[in-house]
Symmetry: C2
């Protein structure tokens, strides 16, 4: 009887090819089947990170998001559309496993840290062997890019999404030593207001495309654009015990 | 004129050798000079992670902590002793650079995330070329070990040290979606009380030695020991949007 295949959710890290783990690098190079999410009409960022190391003979399965920002998160249709999409991705991935193939799912950042892979993981787990490879998070790439430690001693670090309401961001920022804000994009103006209200705007850095060729770091107060690219992270560094 | 050497703070990740990044793996394998922190009389955990890949001809500089838990953090002598220690480490590392050598400083986890390397980094930075290689954090290793995502959708993640006062841990835990508690060790009983008071004790997992051969995961309510090993992390998973 044929052996059933496995599904690997492989974290690729913040973007630089040599920041893949040795384990991830080996899995991607050896993959016969790879899968990845992408926005319709785009090459897919995860796919691009590993462009140089994917086997020419690998079969690719691009999972194209049916919606990104066109429908509001609060619209009930949003969840339904995404749910149907994830189900259909899993049907295909499952059929590859049933046929005896291992599948490498490429994941930006760390799969279990705000990643899309988790939506496949919870659907596949009851029936298939799923293995996750952790990775360097985008935020590690971002704080390393600032060349300043993010947390010292007993600092509290709070990780926030820019999609949260302004007063919630303000309250959290005012009550932490260090902070990371992800999903900045169109929420930049709101985040700036929240940081200002928490009296922390002057200390904040914004990092675009951390660890990538077009990496850009600047104080948020010096940042001119009205919106930020998807790969942007805002960092507030802690100042704890430093003997 | 001889070229001055560089100092690399190289994150090694949570503990498994193949979870080093490709960049870190290459730097460690090629190193003529390596340095690492360790407790006096111990082999040093960072050093052990890369035991198989260090060149036989590499010169090693073990930086032995003068104190660990013998002196209270609040004792003014603590800061003074550690400060003198870090200064003397930097004197030696600097002399190697002055002599034209690159030095690879091995760092557990990610160097800029609660790591000891940052105390060297801020001393060396004004005078030497220092480069930091980010890594998979111990907490990524820990949440991956539980085989459950740590954060979904807009979840807030709070990272806390077990060294904080009980009421502070309780307050923070009650006000977050997901949490990671590090530096558990002797603070286990206090952390359990804080989790119980925040009504979250039943949801907490403890992960010992994540990604290492002796990895152990269990619900905190099932965990019997009165104290936990240094490499222990407590995780409270978020439950955000999941279409």
């Amino acid at each position: 009887m044929q052996k059933e295949g496995r599904i690997y959710g492989v974290g690729l890290g913040p973007g630089a090819l040599d920041l893949l783990s040795v384990r991830a690098d080996k899995l991607v190079r050896g993959a016969d089947h790879i899968a990845y999410f992408r926005k319709a009409g785009k090459p897919g960022h995860a796919r691009q990170i590993v462009n140089e190391i994917i086997s020419k003979n690998a079969t690719e399965f691009a999972m194209e998001y049916p919606v990104t920002t066109e429908i509001s998160l609060s619209d009930p249709a949003y969840n339904q559309i995404l749910s149907t999409f994830y189900d259909s991705c899993c049907t295909h991935l499952g059929s590859l496993c049933d046929g005896g193939s291992d599948v490498i799912v490429l994941c930006e950042g760390d799969p279990f840290f705000y990643g899309s892979f988790m939506h496949l993981h919870r659907r596949l787990l009851p029936k298939y062997a799923v293995q996750v490879v952790p990775a360097i998070t985008g935020m590690s790439g971002a704080w390393t890019a600032t060349n300043m430690p993010i947390t010292w001693g007993d600092d509290v670090l709070t990780v926030l999404m820019g999609t949260l309401p302004e007063d919630e961001i303000q309250r959290k920022i005012a009550d932490t030593d260090a902070a990371i804000i992800m999903k900045v994009g169109r929420h930049l103006a709101k985040i700036k207001k929240a940081l200002h209200a928490a009296n922390k705007l002057e200390d904040a850095y914004i990092i675009e495309y951390a660890t990538m060729a077009n990496q850009n770091i600047c104080l948020l107060t010096d940042y001119q654009p009205a919106t930020a690219p998807y790969f942007s992270i805002i960092a507030l560094h802690g100042h704890g015990r430093r003997p």
